[in-house]
């Protein structure tokens, strides 16, 4: 049995009296696409915010490999190999698509300030390499003709793809995707599914929050179902879709 890449142990997070996350347990293996689903308000985005360090748990532990990451600042969590996208897109609107992705490379860029101030050719080459890599990542998400466009001028689906390219730019071990297909048309959803499987094939783990049940069933290895902050089911897509607790949570009690 391999050590899971990400483990949530009895994680709680309350906002005043609201228990957004109420004892969540979850583990994601290396290279696994793990779905996180549940009705609106189930606490899915809170889980993503807790893992990425934007929220601190009220109780419980979050481990990346063997290392506890709860309580670390977001930039420190990112430094350990966690990248994310946002449900409400948070690109840098006045930067070009390419420059957004260049920002995502921050952790990987090995540049020396001295080389830059002394006008050494190595600094110029490093900056050019960063731009080239960003362009390559944008090509990978199908946006090679949009690299110079300001992020604010891109369509909704394009913005979501730039966000994923920006997250991949840090070469993360764990990619957190918060509703990556919201607002996308069926063609875009299909290419998103292919992209997620490709990312997993590179050995990266993906934690996918998604409302599109068909996509989740199609791309996920395992699924965790949340309702009112609690885990109500966990298993393969086939297991979860048969689980009576899941059916009740989504469709209501038949009585």
């Amino acid at each position: 049995m391999t050590i899971p890449l990400l483990r949530l142990e009895d994680v709680h997070r309350a906002f005043g009296g609201v228990r957004a996350v109420d004892g969540a347990r979850l583990s994601v293996a290396p290279g696994e696409v793990h779905g996180l689903i549940g009705p609106n308000g189930a606490g899915k985005t809170s889980v993503i915010n807790l893992v990425s360090g934007l929220l601190v748990p009220t109780a419980g532990r979050i481990l990346l490999g063997e290392a506890p990451i709860h309580g670390l600042a977001p930039h420190a969590v990112a430094g350990l190999g966690v990248a994310r996208t946002f449900q409400s897109i948070r690109l840098f609107p006045d930067l070009s698509a390419r420059d957004n992705v260049v920002v995502g490379q921050h952790l990987r860029r090995r540049a020396s300030l001295a080389a830059r101030l002394l006008l050494l050719p190595s600094a110029r080459a490093e900056a050019q390499a960063a731009r080239d890599q960003a362009a390559a990542l944008l090509a990978r998400v199908g946006l090679s003709d949009r690299i110079r466009e300001h992020a604010r001028n891109l369509s909704y689906g394009e913005q979501r793809r730039v966000e994923i390219a920006r997250a991949l730019a840090s070469a993360p071990r764990l990619l957190l995707l918060d509703e990556p297909t919201a607002g996308m048309n069926p063609v875009e959803v299909r290419s998103m599914a292919a992209l997620i499987r490709q990312v997993a094939a590179e050995g990266r783990s993906v934690l996918l929050v998604e409302h599109n049940v068909r996509l989740v069933m199609q791309v996920c290895d395992r699924i965790t179902v949340l309702d009112f902050g609690k885990v109500i089911a966990e298993g393969t897509p086939a297991e979860v879709s048969r689980d009576p607790a899941v059916i009740t949570a989504y469709l209501g009690d038949s009585r």
Binding site: H75, A78, S170
Partner: protein, 295 residues
């Protein structure tokens, strides 16, 4: 030809020097603006640099390059304990806290008998040459310019656009903001020291809230998104009153009030029509002319 140039320079030497000093001060405000932080402590930092330099020259007899080094370092050191708490504030709250810092420095100087209180220090030897001002400005512009396109330059832009998102890219935003505040403080201190050794004197009323507003206006009028634009704004708004000096008697308004009126008008026009500052004027003109002309 050369005589004409020389006489022009004699007449306008002070304006030429002030273009450079004001450009340095504008850059000190731009430093924090470049990562989206409205910090207005630059008049306080300039005061610390100016007073420290004046005292070191008059009482310690330090050589001028060392004096300038101290005027650079002391405000930078002060900026660290100031920045650690206040940079947790956002937007207007940061602005108010840093304005308060500037006022504390000014009022402290007014009440400090050792430096003659409100009268300030006079008879400082004139050691600043115009080339020193422009060398300082060139170095500052070079350093800020080299940040563009580097990982640090992109990090600053990311913080300006969306700080929480920047943090999830692994950018330690607090450290970047503090570094830029320290850099801005050093530039302001240097400008203060150069000014003190150019005008022979320093006094608390040279470092009022109005002074830091001037610096901010230079940056906004020039353009707050490009490193050399604040220097352009400072040059424009420093030279403009000199051009208006001859106009003043013709319109029957004193030069002082006329300067304030024109500066206010320029600021208003820039904010309304050139939100990215004077540097965006060529682009805007192209946009307007192409919008007018039919396909």
């Amino acid at each position: 030809m050369w005589e004409a140039l020389a006489s022009f320079y004699d007449t306008y030497q002070s304006t030429v020097a002030y273009v450079g000093i004001n450009a340095l001060l504008a850059l000190s405000v731009y430093a924090t603006l470049s990562c989206g932080q409205l910090a207005l402590g630059s008049s306080g930092f300039a005061a610390i640099g100016a007073y420290a330099a004046a005292l070191l020259t008059l009482h310690a007899g330090w050589p001028f390059p060392l004096v300038l080094g101290a005027a650079l370092a002391l405000p930078a050191l002060v900026a660290v304990p100031l920045g650690l708490p206040v940079l947790r504030l956002k937007g207007v709250f940061l602005a108010i806290a840093t304005i308060a810092f500037g006022e504390v420095v000014r009022l402290g100087l007014v009440n400090w008998q050792y430096v003659n209180g409100a009268q300030g220090i006079v008879a400082i030897p004139q050691k600043t040459a115009v080339w020193m001002i422009y060398l300082s400005l060139a170095v500052a512009l070079f350093v800020l310019g080299r940040l563009r396109g580097s990982k640090w330059g992109f990090a600053l832009e990311a913080i300006r656009e969306d700080e929480p998102a920047a943090r999830t890219m692994g950018i330690p935003t607090a450290r970047y903001k503090l570094t830029m505040l320290v850099l801005g403080a050093a530039l302001a201190g240097l400008a203060g020291a150069l000014e003190a050794h150019f005008t022979f004197m320093v006094a608390p009323n040279g470092f009022t809230f109005g002074r830091v507003v001037d610096m901010l206006v230079f940056a906004v009028v020039g353009g707050a998104q490009l490193y050399w634009a604040p220097a352009l704004g400072a040059a424009f708004l420093t030279i403009l009153p000199e051009l208006l000096r001859d106009l003043a008697p013709k319109v029957g308004i004193e030069p002082g009030p006329l300067r304030l009126m024109v500066n206010g008008l320029v600021l208003l026009l820039v904010i309304l029509f050139l939100p990215s500052g004077l540097v965006s004027l060529p682009r805007r003109v192209r946009e307007w002319s192409s919008a007018r002309s039919p396909e």
